[in-house]
């Protein structure tokens, strides 16, 4: 297990947001974190990345507890893409190169340039490399931010709603890239998602959050209509279109 969380507890002042969180992810796995708005998904991701300090609990990355690692050491092992991002007036290449920051000692090395180039190619961003970020569409920008996290060459990739600004084609492409990266570069992807159907298509493992704690964690077997109905508070049924599982919400009194 590259990332193992146990007994995690967090609160903003006195408002408890997470308690008794326990789960683990292995290299090569794609874990989807699911739950309602305000369930604490973003908070959990920030705790994992040491941006927020939990009250209690341990977070192990490989053999190290992240509380014994410096911020820089954490950055070498984990890449993080926030739900909201800002950008200065820099080019796409600059922005992705920033992902090399935890590895750069004083100046950029040829290897750093090589990594950036490779990531730009994987995400099909080569054509944009000298474009300024404020001249990109929301979706293009989102891909750049993901590219930056990949350029970090992390063991664990934490992504907070990476597809929220993307069209259908780019949603699939980005998730495919993340999944591919998880397989090929042998990293664990922890992804907060809202689209259950996309989660079903791409994730190997699921973490359902409800009432500040883990409702269920596991593979396809936990994605039952009962569990999802309980987590989201909306009755759903699980259908199949050929081999593809599809979640269909039932709208009371609706069409």
């Amino acid at each position: 297990m590259i990332l193992a969380v146990d007994g995690l507890e967090f609160s903003y002042n006195s408002h408890a947001v997470l308690r008794d969180i326990k789960f683990a992810v292995a290299r090569g796995e794609f874990l989807a974190i699911l739950g309602n708005n305000g369930a604490g998904k973003s908070t959990l991701l920030k705790c994992l990345n040491k941006i927020l300090k939990p009250r209690r609990g341990t977070i192990m990355i490989e053999k190290d507890n992240i509380f014994n690692l410096s911020r820089l050491e954490v950055a070498r092992k984990m890449g993080y893409v926030a739900q909201m991002y800002e950008s200065g007036r820099v080019t796409v290449f600059d922005a992705v190169l920033l992902g090399r920051k935890p590895h750069i000692k004083w100046d950029v090395s040829p290897r750093d340039l090589e990594v950036v180039q490779r990531v730009l190619r994987v995400l099909d961003l080569e054509g944009f490399s000298l474009r300024y970020l404020d001249e990109l569409s929301g979706g293009e920008l989102q891909k750049v931010i993901i590219a930056r996290a990949l350029a970090q060459e992390p063991g664990v990739l934490l992504l907070d709603e990476p597809t929220s600004n993307l069209d259908l084609k780019n949603q699939l492409e980005v998730l495919k890239t993340i999944k591919g990266a998880a397989r090929e570069e042998n990293l664990a992807a922890v992804v907060v998602m809202h689209d259950l159907n996309l989660a079903l298509r791409f994730a190997d493992k699921f973490l359902l959050l409800k009432n500040s704690t883990v409702f269920a964690c596991g593979g396809m077997e936990i994605m039952t209509p009962e569990n999802l109905t309980a987590v989201y508070g909306v009755p759903v049924t699980l259908a199949r279109m050929g081999p593809i599982p599809v979640i269909v919400p039932f709208i009371p009194g609706g069409p």
């Binding site: 954490v74 991002y85 920033l98 490399s129």
Partner: protein, 357 residues
């Protein structure tokens, strides 16, 4: 074919960064020319050739005295102060995430001026005179700078406190800066009122700046502080780049945001204090330098910091030269010239608004 495209992406990028280096180089060369012109310009009849010969130690006599004791320290002081204020502004804009931030707009300069005035008028570290050339005489530059630094830090700490409060808009922060600036300026004026022999010239020194009276000793201290600050800022250039993409992203990239912010503001205040102690308050250089360069070469601090330094130096040197020569032999306060240039820019920044994602 694909291999070719791949190679081109990194190469294209390197070419793009080399252009930035070129811009910085050109600006530096321009500054040297401007420096020679500025030494040459003025009432003593000198030619550029004479200036160069004197600088190389080939000419003796009156020209040498004028150039070495009056013109050269003035030119170097203008450039150093401009560079210092400009990088201080550049870093403040970054770490406070506020494009309107600068030593002058946040009241840090006024705080430093008040601190310097306390040292000079109340602690006996200097004296004031009625003649324009030597309005304020500093006997103990270290005490004055330290006192100025305390004043600057007072303003800085209040700004830092505001920056921590969630949801303070850039405009609100600048409004607080204006209030702080007025407060410190008022305190300086009251101090002057009680000091017996303060004259109009000294008032001008503390409200509009005056580069004319920097001695070699003052210049040494100012250049040391600015140089050391510049080195510190350059060492943190990647941290500033990371901060530009948001606080949490920066943390995710290994930046200790709180520490970088505190030390950055500390160093920026120190530079401001060193400049203001000897030259008085000079506004808007810290705004104009970095913003001009952000437009020209972009926001990558690897290049932006040195570029802002050179541009700030150039702008202040140019302003001072204009102040000295436009209605010669009358010397205008240089801060008046920089305000004429900087205030429109400030209004432009305000009216344009900022895009935030």
């Amino acid at each position: 074919m694909h291999q070719l495209v791949m190679a081109n992406v990194a190469q294209g990028y390197l070419k793009y960064t080399r252009r930035k280096v070129l811009v910085i180089g050109l600006l530096s060369i321009l500054s040297v020319f401007l420096g020679v012109y500025a030494i040459n310009a003025g009432s003593a009849e000198l030619t550029p050739v004479q200036v160069l010969q004197t600088l190389l130690g080939q000419v003796e006599g009156q020209a040498q005295v004028i150039i070495w004791n009056i013109r050269l320290p003035r030119v170097l002081a203008a450039f150093t102060a401009g560079a210092g204020l400009s990088v201080a502004g550049c870093v403040m804009q970054n770490i406070l995430r506020n494009p309107l931030a600068s030593p002058f707009t946040l009241g840090v300069s006024q705080g430093a001026a008040f601190g310097a005035a306390v040292a000079i008028l109340a602690l006996g570290a200097g004296s004031t005179h009625s003649t324009g050339a030597d309005a304020v005489l500093i006997n103990n530059p270290y005490l004055v700078t330290c006192s100025a630094f305390l004043g600057a830090m007072a303003a800085t700490l209040i700004i830092l406190f505001l920056a921590r409060v969630k949801g303070v808009s850039p405009e609100a922060m600048v409004l607080a800066g204006v209030a702080l600036g007025s407060l410190f300026s008022a305190a300086t004026i009251i101090l002057q009122y009680f000091a017996s022999d303060v004259q109009v010239a000294a008032m001008v020194f503390w409200t509009f700046g005056d580069i004319g009276r920097a001695s070699w000793r003052d210049l040494e201290l100012m250049a040391t502080v600015t140089g050391a600050g510049l080195l510190y800022f350059m060492a943190n250039r990647w941290n500033y780049n990371a901060l530009d993409s948001g606080e949490e992203t920066a943390q995710g990239l290994g930046v200790q945001v709180e520490k970088i912010r505190l030390t950055g503001m500390f160093i920026a205040s120190l530079i401001t204090a060193a400049v203001v102690s000897f030259l008085g308050i000079i506004g808007f250089i810290g705004l104009a330098g970095p913003h001009l360069m952000r437009r020209v070469i972009g926001g990558d601090h690897r290049f932006l910091i040195p570029a802002a330094a050179v541009t700030g130096g150039f702008l202040l040197l140019a302003s001072d030269t204009v102040a000295r020569t436009v209605i010669s032999p009358v010397v205008l306060p240089v801060g008046a010239i920089t305000s004429f240039m900087g205030a429109p820019l400030f209004l432009y920044l305000l009216s344009r608004g900022y895009r935030k994602r």
